[in-house]
């Protein structure tokens, strides 16, 4: 089957949507997973909610868009992926539902036990999605057991293989680092300083996990094959490394926003590394590469892709503009006067 330019455009956009999603929701999921470690008392916890509260729902829309783009541009890949990863995605969905409710409900009643229940659900609802997304994407990189009819031949427990779990751990620590930097940027001392110091430690753990993950990927997946074929692609992992090395430099200077940008760039470049390694697959088959779902055999008709491209050209700039605007409005440091959450 021949590849057309719109399939390539939508593969790139698919990657961009996931990259932006990880970059944005990564910090609020990460901050949530640090609720107990950073939030020693009610004041600090509220500051963590306040630091992520105005952003988390907008960030999660990127997840819906990424899923929606998969559905519209590559419907067959969407169908197979969502059936194969059914249990994992269902857990992800429940975690995100409960988490969203926790954020909005915790401040709607004054009793301390009410708050502590929602705090626990917020913590779990932040930790689990990071883990599950990592497991899901590591398995996509590795390929899942789909046969020639696109039917998944294994179960959830096969997805929890060592490589998948390493991916899950990597996402958890990467998001936690990202979230700690965000909290450091958005809050006042002493919470800010504590978050900055924690970020430095988490940075080291994440670094080790990335090195392990890259090495394991080389041994267990075909994700590096494209790099050997087209060395220009090394620009993505190289960019990820440079951006990542800038993070501790800025952290030591307490330039938290710059550190966060460095961390965000790392996530984007790292996602680009994985997506570029997948090309032209969307979902490789671990049974036989011939059963893999590619951008050629799983895409919508060219007309659909053309219309989607036109819609994206019009609306993506609008979405980006109001997203940046919203971040600007809420860019101030959190103080004790902020009581919405």
């Amino acid at each position: 089957m021949e590849m057309n330019i719109f399939q390539i455009i939508w593969f790139v956009l698919w990657g961009v949507l996931w990259a932006v999603y990880f970059m944005l929701d990564g910090f609020d999921l990460g901050a949530g997973s640090l609720l107990y470690i950073l939030g020693k008392d009610e004041k600090d916890r509220r500051a963590i909610y306040q630091a992520t509260g105005p952003f988390w729902d907008g960030n999660e829309v990127w997840l819906i868009t990424a899923g929606g783009a998969t559905f519209a541009a590559f419907p067959k890949a969407y169908a197979v992926m969502f059936s194969a990863l059914y249990s994992a995605l269902l857990l992800l969905l429940f975690s995100l539902i409960i988490r969203g409710v926790a954020i909005e409900y915790r401040n709607k009643h004054e009793s301390p036990s009410w708050r502590s229940i929602w705090d626990l659900l917020f913590f779990l609802g932040s930790l689990l999605p990071a883990l599950l997304l990592g497991v899901a994407f590591a398995n996509i990189f590795k390929g899942v057991a789909i046969d020639q009819n696109g039917i998944f031949q294994e179960t959830l427990f096969h997805l929890l293989n060592p490589y998948g779990l390493l991916g899950g751990l990597l996402f958890v620590f990467c998001f936690a680092t990202h979230g700690a930097i965000w909290v450091a940027f958005k809050t006042m001392d002493p919470l800010s300083e504590r978050a900055g110091n924690l970020a430095k430690k988490l940075w080291v753990v994440t670094l080790i996990l990335v090195v392990l993950f890259w090495a394991y990927s080389f041994a267990a997946t075909r994700i590096w094959d494209n790099y050997l074929k087209a060395p220009i692609l090394f620009v993505f992992p190289a960019l990820a490394v440079i951006a990542y090395l800038s993070v501790p430099v800025f952290l030591n200077k307490k330039a938290y926003f710059k550190a966060w940008v460095g961390s965000a760039l790392t996530i984007v470049a790292f996602t680009a590394w994985g997506v570029a390694g997948l090309f032209p697959n969307i979902l490789p088959s671990s049974i036989d590469p011939a059963y893999s779902l590619t951008i050629m055999n799983s895409s919508s008709s060219e007309l659909t892709l053309k219309i989607m491209t036109a819609v994206a050209v019009i609306f993506v700039p609008i979405v980006l503009a109001y997203t940046i605007w919203a971040y600007k409005i809420f860019s101030h440091k959190i103080t004790e006067k902020d009581i919405a959450y």
Partner: protein, 296 residues
Amino acid sequence: MQHPVGYVIRNGRAELDSFAAVLTNSFAWWEFLHTVPSAYVLSGFFVLGVSAWHILRKNELSFFKKSFRVAAIWTVIFSLYLIVEGHIHGAEVAAKQPTKLAAMESHWETEKGAGWALFAIPDEANERNSVEFIKVPKVLSLLAFHDPEAEVKGLKEWPKEERPPVALIFWSFRIMVLLGLLLGLFSVLAYIKRNNPESTPKLLKVLVWNIPLPYIAAQAGWMVAEVGRQPWIVYGLMKTKDAVSPLSSLQVGLSLPAFIIVYGILEVICFWLIAYHARKGPEPAEATLKVETKLA
């Protein structure tokens, strides 16, 4: 999925043929113009109900009289609109989804100048209505096709496996229409009393107890729309049983109860929280100010 348009069957699947046809799908528009305003009606009656509760207790009278007035105007517009739009939408169903219409009316035999029964009990096993009274001649033809002599296809026109479950749709439709008319009446009464609601405590009590009714009407309508198109998932094109994903029954057997439990718990908490805040009334001006400064 209710009325697919703008596609061609190519490469073993439905592919987009005309985006304009999809955007101008009349069925989709009538449904959109039905569901969104029904949410407006629901919100309007919610505000009316909460305001009525507080007015009955003389809490913050000036605040709640104002909210009552705004909600009364809003609700009467959309409630009366929905009755008219609902009728047009019904005629659209008659034209595009004859099996759904036949099930909504439990209409078994194809006939010209079909009558409409004020009350009936469908009997699916014997393909008839076991009870039917006050049947007004020609009214169904008139309602569905705006022509008293028009032919209305009966359920027997289709094989059993291509008919939706009749009783559920029949009753859901009756509940929706009855509640729609009742809500229309309440909205007119609330509108008449919009400037002095405290003078009619009876109406206020009715409006408090009325809060669940728009929810029931909306659920019943949803049942008509979605169960009514069965056995098709894409009307006339693909059956629901052919659209099932290759999942093990264990996975679905776990996920469905999980959805029911999680949503059930959330619903209880949500209702409790809404009632708690609705009873508490408006926040003191100072607190509102704080939230506003934060937003600014």
